[in-house]
Subunit: 282 residues, 2 copies
Amino acid sequence: LPKKPAASSSKAKDPGFTQSQKDRIVSLLGPDEMISFSKEKRSFQQLEAELINKRKDDLRKVYEDSRENLLGKLERQITDFFVERGFMEIKSPILIPFEYMERMGVGEDTKLSQQIFRVGENMCLRPMLAPGLYNYLYKFDNILPDPIRIFEIGPCYRKESDGKSHLEEFTMLNFCQMGSKCTRETLILLIEDFLDSLNIEHEIVSDNCMVYGETIDVLHKDMELSSAVVGPIPQDIDWGINKPWIGAGFGLERLLKVTYNFKTIKRAARCENYYNGISTNL
Amino acid sequence: LPKKPAASSSKAKDPGFTQSQKDRIVSLLGPDEMISFSKEKRSFQQLEAELINKRKDDLRKVYEDSRENLLGKLERQITDFFVERGFMEIKSPILIPFEYMERMGVGEDTKLSQQIFRVGENMCLRPMLAPGLYNYLYKFDNILPDPIRIFEIGPCYRKESDGKSHLEEFTMLNFCQMGSKCTRETLILLIEDFLDSLNIEHEIVSDNCMVYGETIDVLHKDMELSSAVVGPIPQDIDWGINKPWIGAGFGLERLLKVTYNFKTIKRAARCENYYNGISTNL
Ligand SMILES: Nc1ncnc2c1ncn2[C@@H]1O[C@H](COP(=O)(O)OP(=O)(O)OP(=O)(O)O)[C@@H](O)[C@H]1O
Ligand SMILES: Nc1ncnc2c1ncn2[C@@H]1O[C@H](COP(=O)(O)OP(=O)(O)OP(=O)(O)O)[C@@H](O)[C@H]1O
Ligand SMILES: [Mg+2]
Ligand SMILES: [Mg+2]
Ligand SMILES: [Mg+2]
Ligand SMILES: [Mg+2]
């Protein structure tokens, strides 16, 4: 007698997508599109062809209408927000002396130190904006009127293993204030105004880390959007800083991931495979 | 008999600035300020103090009025120019596979290859924007309507020895068009419109280089602002490109150097020692 098929497979008409076919289909989905592979009646080729046409239309629409890159556009929007509120726009080196990281308390035995991309003997790619901002706070101290407000947006680099919310090349915003009114209240108000301007829901929790000690973390659902700090902290003195300060760092790709409901952060990254969250492999 | 002083030193009242004092004074000058050390009657301390006060006033004025960084602002201005003319804004990886440079014809025996910052075994900091744009032209081909126009602005890295117009970390603009109307005339018109929008005088000359062969170089006085190319070129095929194209690369710090009459390009760079061309060592 011929063998009867197993009971479960006689119920659903499962085209039997392989894992790599599933990954391909998922990469072609728009951010708010969902798919149930087990209920899907179309073949892989059919589904792929339909999605490719939709994504081509999406790209053509961007080309016709806006032509602005989401990461570039978000940087400009955030720049306007902080400049309007009295913060000076900084553009500091991305390739920095490794010695700055040592002075940030990131010694060779620490986890963050393992994440740093070294360049040659003495340099590295900055994993955070703090050293550059410390340098500017020091130089602007006693020149600019109190309080001193500065910010920077730009590339940062960390070796990472976790994929859904981590990139090795990402874009950081870091804003800070030094001098008077550098309280937890001021910091939280700034963070809330900032995220309201982007329409991003968030919650604020306490956490801590090696570099700064206690931090105020800003979350969206389970994902960290920012770590924020109320200074002063002991290492300020190594940077010539001796006044109160507050500051926060946000990843722009994480903000885009939330705003556009991307399933993975890769859609928001500098990359060849997605343009404004749309697959380019069409 | 006592020795008479040399004739020349009895004529001028030369306070006798050392080289390092001269360098310090020059760093404190505003872009259009000149100084004649041999005619200068003020002492170093007096001159330094006066210049420091002027530069503090300049920084306070930026903080009160604009708060925009010149490099950031120029990037935004150039972005508007190209988006308005139908170019798609690209943000591609800065940290790229070294293999891309091999595919650009930059083999290990070439001058440009010696200038590349390697990162780990397989990666490098991009010395030009071309590989990223080649990738996007390939992916957008047969999706976007003809002609395809794209551009990118962002950090590039080269090891350099010449100081006045070279930085190791600089900011490149590269725009290109692929498909129809990719002629020398279109390219030159774009370049001229672009530089007119920035009020920058220029002349166009023929030159050549290893990667592209013949180039159209754009100069301001003796300084190169851009190399521009009318494709196609033999290496296009390695990038899956088989249509006519035109493109040009400009350094933003060189554009700022011309616009603001900076004596050295360092004043325009991402750096700690100058903010918007003003010394921060005050
Ligand atoms: N690898 C990364 N990719 C994208 N964004 C990042 C990355 N690392 C940090 N960020 C962003 O920069 C912000 C400030 O950096 P911070 O050092 O606090 O990150 P972190 O605590 O290491 O984050 P996580 O715990 O998620 O690794 C983070 O809240 C996040 O938004
Ligand atoms: N080290 C650098 N610092 C600042 N700008 C640069 C640097 N290298 C190149 N550029 C800018 O990028 C543009 C395009 O790059 P290209 O490869 O043609 O430079 P290049 O021919 O090597 O320039 P140069 O002969 O001055 O070294 C240049 O015309 C210049 O404006
Ligand atoms: Mg981390
Ligand atoms: Mg954190
Ligand atoms: Mg060169
Ligand atoms: Mg050139």
